[in-house]
């Protein structure tokens, strides 16, 4: 081939190289390298990431009953002071025939 053709071919090749180099650099800049651990905030737009904690399966150590050094209880919750009255049981027996009756 003569020089003109070589010039055309080489110029196309160099142009393609230049474009691909530019593209590669630009694409690398856009994607983040690391994951940022954070907490969601309802008041503003923030990046929130899910924290990938591995599933921890702590095995219970045998059949012994656990012994605690410090035990404290809050006051009894209000609903735990309510006693189910006979009418509540009547109501439940009626509802068993409806909601409690599951048909496969």
């Amino acid at each position: 081939m003569d020089n003109a053709r070589w010039i055309v071919v080489l110029s196309v090749i160099f142009s393609m190289m230049a474009v691909l180099t530019l593209l590669n650099r630009y694409a690398t800049r856009l994607s983040p390298a690391t994951t940022v651990t954070g907490e969601e905030n309802a008041g503003s737009v923030k990046h929130v990431t899910a924290v990938n904690k591995p599933a921890v399966v702590k095995r219970s150590s045998g059949r012994e009953i656990p012994r605690f050094g410090q035990i404290s209880f809050p006051k009894p919750a209000a609903h735990t002071l309510m006693i189910d009255q006979p009418r509540d049981f009547e109501k439940m027996r009626e509802s068993i025939e409806v909601e409690g009756c599951i048909i496969k």
Binding site: A50, I71, L81, P86, R93
Partner: protein, 803 residues
């Protein structure tokens, strides 16, 4: 050369033509393309391009929703410090009052799902905005069940940056169930509605250990002991009695307060060679004269007094015979003795002889075996009144009966006269001692009260070391026994003789007599109080002391929350003692124990299963997570319409839940938490119509759960309509949680109780007692939020503008 130049010129002309040819070809190609493209409809291209965009954006929006729901699920129950966890609890489960419904709670707004963006952004600059809002619209209809229905609305919008006119919005809705699993029954370590005759069983033992709190003394476990379906009997008292045992209880404060000491003692003044009873907790003596309420007239038929008088009269009759110079006659009693006296008088015929005077008095006044009118007999009685000493002491059942032999009641007991008033079979009827014979006596076709024969050693309620108090409710009484007698004496009696005659009155055993048998000195109320402290004892008879509340054994005021949730004190040491007949409930409520149970609102169930098999297939898959059995995954309130639920293959559980079985039994083997305590994980199993069965293939069973089997409707006397725990002859069963049943049977002829020597140990789990406890600095969470797996609503919306 000319040819070469011509050739060169020709070649140049060719090259120029070639380039021109290429250029024209390319231009022609471009022209063709331009013409072709120009003929396309430009709208279709745009539409095609937008379709592709929308599909991609829809996928991204769905992915964003999925990411949100995954995040919510992973944090709502398991990450206590997270915003999602705290927001729901602070807005929905209020300390003071229920929230106003409907209630809207923003969980995530606005939110950028990073995982989705990361996946979708490769070569494509996407934007996603999401939000999740919880709406709570319904509360359970029962006051005792704190549970809500709601749903989460998830919305995600996705668009390509710079092309904001193309957006895709995905909306989906998931059902949510929010529940506080705590219930009033949690405060009970043990609750048994029906009468059980194993509370003094020595061959099958029950040990209960309550909770303790390090900073609030009012937290205390309760135990309810019921007496429903008490066997039919004439006894007006259909109570439960728990036998004191020195070795177990002498260290408790109540023991020392009841008896004034906690050491063993014996009766003083026991003759040499006579067996010593050294198992008395307290003993005392009073002169007969100081007793009040009884008089010697009540002893006119007393064998010891009568026998001694007959001996004296026989001697008098013999003296007459001797003085008359004739042979004496054999020893006689009653009417025969009277005839003997007549003959003696006839033989001697000396009205001034002292012996004849005595015989004459006997002949004139004796009436068969009743000598009360005889002057000489009255002298003897008066001597008894002056010399008798009444001795009594208190002891336990194990000291009077052989309580460690099998069979009920324990029969093979024979004790010397002084100690024989309760248990010695020689003093009773039907080969039973007086105490058991009296209660086994048939009255109107039924035994008076056979259940009182269940003597032994009470089960342990304060833990193995007797150091953790519980508050015992129900008709539960402490029982110990008094043995009493009038002691033997020798004294001189001034009969119709110049010199006093020595008489010896042997021990008068004060045997037991039922109080409905009036007219005897044994059942006549005395004046003074014989008891040292706290209880009442005003009878001479040997008897059971069975009117002290069982809580007295603890020995001091017991702090507790009353039924209204207020700090209170129960004083078991007040006199007269009071029991707590009903389970704890608010002031004004009078629900009987047999009606206690747990109602559930089925609309609040997070999972519903037709059968136990369906439940197990889904909730306890064979996932190989642990090597020694399946894992049960709990998720809130789970309802099973029909059992039987076989959890024997399940050895651990994870999560928090209530399994409510409408009808059917539940088989359990070893079952523990997967995660090491302290953990909020907890398991509650409620059987509405069924029994718990301990897997017969496993011994030494330990179950970490709250187990409740209350048959609905309650209070049937049909044994098939009771909630039980079938122990299947196991040796050791430990329940770390609590146990509430209609009926409890530790020993059963059908081997459904414990094995001989077996033990049922119930330790009240603090995480069950109050699921909001703080254990070793870890605050437990009593709430559970279940998110449904099904999208109950799903829609896309295209177009719109970016956020």
């Amino acid at each position: 050369m000319y040819q070469t130049l011509s050739e060169l010129n020709m070649r140049n002309i060719g090259r120029h033509g070639f380039v021109l040819y290429i250029v024209i070809t390319v231009l022609l190609g471009l022209a063709i393309m331009a013409f072709a493209l120009n003929s396309f409809k430009t709208g279709a291209v745009t539409q095609l391009s937008r379709n592709v965009d929308q599909n991609r954006l829809a996928l991204v929006a769905q992915s964003a929703n999925a990411e949100m729901i995954a995040m919510i699920k992973s944090r709502v129950n398991l990450v206590p410090g997270s915003n999602i966890f705290n927001t729901i609890r602070s807005k929905v489960f209020l300390d003071t009052a229920s929230p106003t419904l409907p209630l809207t709670v923003e969980l995530l707004s606005p939110f950028e799902p990073q995982e989705t963006i990361k996946l979708a952004k490769v070569g494509y600059n996407l934007k996603v905005r999401s939000s999740a809002v919880l709406k709570v619209f319904r509360r359970s209809i029962y006051n005792s069940m704190l549970a809500y229905n709601g749903y989460i609305d998830l919305e995600s919008k996705a668009w390509r940056e710079g092309a904001g006119e193309i957006t895709m919005e995905a909306h989906e809705r998931r059902d949510v169930r929010l529940i506080d699993l705590r219930h009033t029954l949690d405060k009970y370590a043990l609750f048994v509605k029906n009468y059980c005759n194993d509370y003094n069983n020595t061959s099958r033992r029950l040990i209960i250990k309550g909770v303790r709190s390090d900073d609030d003394p009012y937290d205390i476990s309760r135990v309810f002991i019921g007496n429903d379906n008490y066997p039919t009997c004439k006894d007006p008292r259909k109570d439960l009695w728990f036998d004191l045992y020195y070795e177990d209880h002498n260290g408790l404060k109540g023991f020392a307060k009841i008896f004034g000491q906690n050491t063993l003692t014996s009766f003083p003044g026991i003759p040499a060679g006579y067996p010593v009873f050294n198992r008395l907790f307290y003993e005392n003596v009073k002169p007969f004269n100081a007793l009040g309420g009884v008089s010697v007239d009540m002893f006119v038929l007393n064998p010891q007094v009568v026998n001694e008088f007959e001996r004296v009269i026989n001697l008098a009759a013999d003296a007459c015979m001797v003085q008359a110079g004739v042979a004496t006659e054999p020893y006689m009693v009653a009417a025969n003795l009277r005839e003997k006296c007549k003959r003696s008088i006839a033989k001697l015929s000396n009205p001034n002889a002292y012996a004849q005077m005595m015989c004459q008095d006997f002949v004139d006044k004796a009436n068969g075996g009743n000598y009360s009118a005889c002057k000489e007999f009255v002298k003897l009685l008066n001597t008894c009144q002056q010399n008798w000493e009444y001795r009594w002491g208190y002891t336990d059942a194990a000291s009077l009966w052989n309580v460690y032999t099998s069979g009920c009641p324990p029969l093979n007991t024979t004790l010397p006269d002084r100690y024989a008033g309760l248990s010695s079979i020689a003093m009773g009827a039907g080969n039973y001692g007086p105490y058991m014979a009296e209660y086994r006596e048939l009255v109107d076709g039924n035994q008076y009260n056979h259940e009182r024969s269940s003597v032994g050693v009470m089960q342990q309620f304060y833990g193995e070391d007797n150091d953790v108090p519980v508050l015992i409710e129900g008709n539960a009484y402490l029982r110990f026994f008094k043995i009493a007698y009038l002691d033997e004496f020798t004294a001189n009696v001034q009969f119709a003789a110049p010199t006093p005659v020595p008489v010896n009155i042997r021990v008068v055993t004060n045997k037991y007599l039922r109080k409905d048998k009036t007219g005897s000195f044994l059942t006549t109320q005395l004046g003074p109080q014989l008891a040292p402290n706290l209880f009442d004892d005003r009878f001479m008879k040997s008897r059971a002391i069975d009117e002290l509340s069982l809580n007295t054994l603890w020995g001091e005021k017991i702090k507790c929350y009353n039924g209204s949730g207020q700090p209170d004190e129960y004083d078991p040491m007040q006199s007269p003692t009071t029991i707590i007949p009903r389970p704890a409930q608010p002031t004004g409520s009078t629900v009987e124990a047999f009606r206690f149970g747990r109602v559930v609102d089925f609309k609040n169930a997070s999972w519903n299963y037709v059968s136990a098999a369906d439940f197990l297939a889904e909730r306890a898959p064979n996932d190989g997570r642990t090597s020694d059995g399946k894992t049960l995954y709990l998720d809130g309130f789970m309802y099973i319409a029909a059992g039987d639920l076989d959890l024997s293959g399940v050895t651990q559980f994870q999560g928090k839940g209530l399994i409510y079985i409408r009808q059917g039994n539940c088989t359990l083997g070893n079952l523990k938490r997967l995660n090491d305590p302290p953990t909020s994980d907890s398991l509650r199993i409620y059987l509405r119509r069924g029994d718990f069965k301990i897997d017969p293939a496993v011994d030494n069973v330990k179950i970490c759960a709250s187990l409740v089997a209350f048959y609905d409707p309650p209070q049937s006397d049909n044994s098939l309509q009771q909630g039980n725990i079938i122990l299947n002859n196991r040796s050791n069963v430990t329940i770390y949680g609590n146990l509430l049943v209609d009926s409890l049977s530790l020993q059963d002829s059908a081997n459904s109780g414990l094995a001989a020597g077996g033990k049922l140990y119930i330790e009240h789990d603090p995480a069950i007692y109050n699921a909001a406890a703080t254990l070793d600095g870890t605050k437990l969470d009593p709430y559970h939020i279940s998110i449904g797996p099904v999208k109950t609503s799903f829609s896309f919306r295209a177009g719109g503008s970016e956020i």
